[in-house]
Amino acid sequence: MSVKAAVPPDVWVSRGPLATIRVTFSRIITFCLVELQKLSHDRTELFTRAIQPILWLGIFGTTFSRVRAIPTGDVSYLAFMSPGVIAQSGMFVAIFYGIQIIWERDAGILAKLLVTPTPRVALAAGKAFAAGIRSVAIALVVIAFALIIRVDLTLNPLKWLAACGVVMLGSAFFCCLSLCIAGLVLHRDRLMGIGQAITMPLFFASNALYPIEMMPSWVQVLARVNPMSYEVSMLRGLLLGQPTNYLADLTVLIVAGVVGIAVASYLMGRLSR
């Protein structure tokens, strides 16, 4: 038997922050690519996941457009709620990534990933943006449906591209929130219960369905600390041309995403034990 054991690569011995950032970006691309490969093999989830937002737009939206109970300025209620439903569809996809990571832990996939030279922060970021990719794919189905039912969304492809980026950022945060809960509860059943308990409050305590000003004051407080409100504001600005503070919205989403990735990567260690 030969004894030509591999020489340990020195590049991995002392890695600085720049190397970690480079690896993190590389891993984000890898996990996004894997997500796209999974989607390409099975597109049914794209459509089944799109059913709920399509029902929100097709039934709830068209009905409330006729009622005219909610002041939405110079746009129809259907147009007003469309960005909210797009954000909601992304959140619903992302929030269940915690269940996926617990499944991956039970199946040994997470252990195998953690034994690759991937810093935990890169693994959390990779998962977060992979959720973003899936959310964007579903958001595009919802946008297509909104255009079919003649919602007056912009047709500017650059604004669509920017909207996809916003959905991705928002979903990355919600995925991290889910990964954090997974790291705390460690069991699928508990996470499913918590996931179902928090998704609707996150949706309703945001400006997705009605302006924040209409809410009771205590709900307004929740809505103003809910990153979904900032995601919806940006989407309304991009898709409907409604005024918003893009810089503030983007800052909140980026800070929420970075904090989410940091906490999720810290808690991910609990899942490996």
Binding site: M1, S2, V3, K4, A5, A6, V7, P8, P9, W12, V13, S14, R15, V23, S26, R27, T30, L33, V34, Q37, K38, H41, D42, D106, A107, G108, I109, A111, K112, L113, L114, V115, T116, P117, T118, P119, S272, R273
Partner: protein, 273 residues
């Protein structure tokens, strides 16, 4: 390289959980694994084998003592250790929504194999594992033996200096088991890699391992070549006799051999059919 492949010194690991007494999973373990050696960790459920593996492959933090892999301290240079390692966990740990080739490519990216080499490396390990013809099929269509071979291909794509196999043939039929053993031997001959494995199959340990460490209740009970261990127990002793001699009727009920572990093993066996 002068150092051994794996050096473990006075390693102790205690699991602490609220409402439960601390559980010593690994108790003052010291051993070395030489370059190019196939080393087996044997013992009853709860002996501390998997905890030891998880300390070596950086999944668990080292509490007391030290572990060095090719001279790299796992506590201080985990990335260097991971870059040198291939790992096949006990569970079926492939992504069934990807093809066999995509599964291997995924890990090639996670090990930072340069793009110009990636395709050739992936093709080479798939061919070695006799999976070339089925490489573009979804992994969900693979048989149990093919899944194990795919996992070996994933673990080998970075040409690891140390291959860690945790119960590599659990749940496999005899033909598939023979195939995995054959591939492990072939890998050692081709790459001269060090192999560290845990198993409950005495025949497997006897055929593959140059040396065996018998563990019980977190401690090292015996260490030596299969022939030495058999001779020490009796003139016509088998490795199963050695196992019974050192494990006795000692049935532990600790975390490693507990319900979760048994359930995991059964799930893997069930999925392998």
């Amino acid at each position: 390289m002068d150092s051994d492949a794996v050096e473990i010194e006075h390693l102790t690991h205690v699991f602490r959980a609220r409402k439960h007494a601390p559980h010593i999973a690994v108790d003052d373990l010291s051993l070395t694994v030489a370059h190019g050696e196939c080393f087996g960790l044997l013992g009853p459920n709860g002996a501390g084998k998997t905890t030891t593996i998880r300390l070596i492959n950086t999944l668990l933090p080292v509490q007391t003592g030290s572990v060095r892999v090719f001279g790299h301290d796992v506590a201080h240079h985990p990335m260097a250790v991971r870059a040198l390692m291939g790992y096949v966990p006990q569970q079926l740990s492939i992504e069934s929504a990807l093809t066999g080739r995509e599964n291997v490519e995924w890990f090639a990216r996670l090990f930072d194999i340069p793009r110009r080499e990636r395709r050739a490396r992936v093709d080479a390990v798939l061919e070695m594992m006799q999976l070339t013809e089925s490489a573009d099929r979804l992994a969900s269509t693979y048989s149990g033996g093919m899944v194990r071979r795919l996992e070996l291909a994933q673990a080998l794509v970075n040409r690891p200096a140390l291959l860690v196999l945790d119960e590599p043939t659990v749940g496999l039929d005899p033909v598939a088991r023979d195939s995995v053993w054959g591939h492990v031997r072939q890998m050692r001959e081709e790459f001269g890699m060090t192999v560290l494995l845990t198993t409950h199959y005495m025949e497997e340990a006897d055929m593959l391992c140059d040396r065996i460490a018998m563990m019980n209740r977190g401690r090292l009970s015996a260490l030596g070549s299969p022939d030495d261990l058999k001779r020490a127990v009796g003139p016509r002793a088998t490795l199963e006799d050695v196992f019974r001699h050192y494990a006795g009727a000692d049935l532990n009920d600790d975390s490693e051999g507990g319900l979760a572990s048994v359930r995991q093993g059964r799930r893997t066996a069930g999925r392998l059919g």
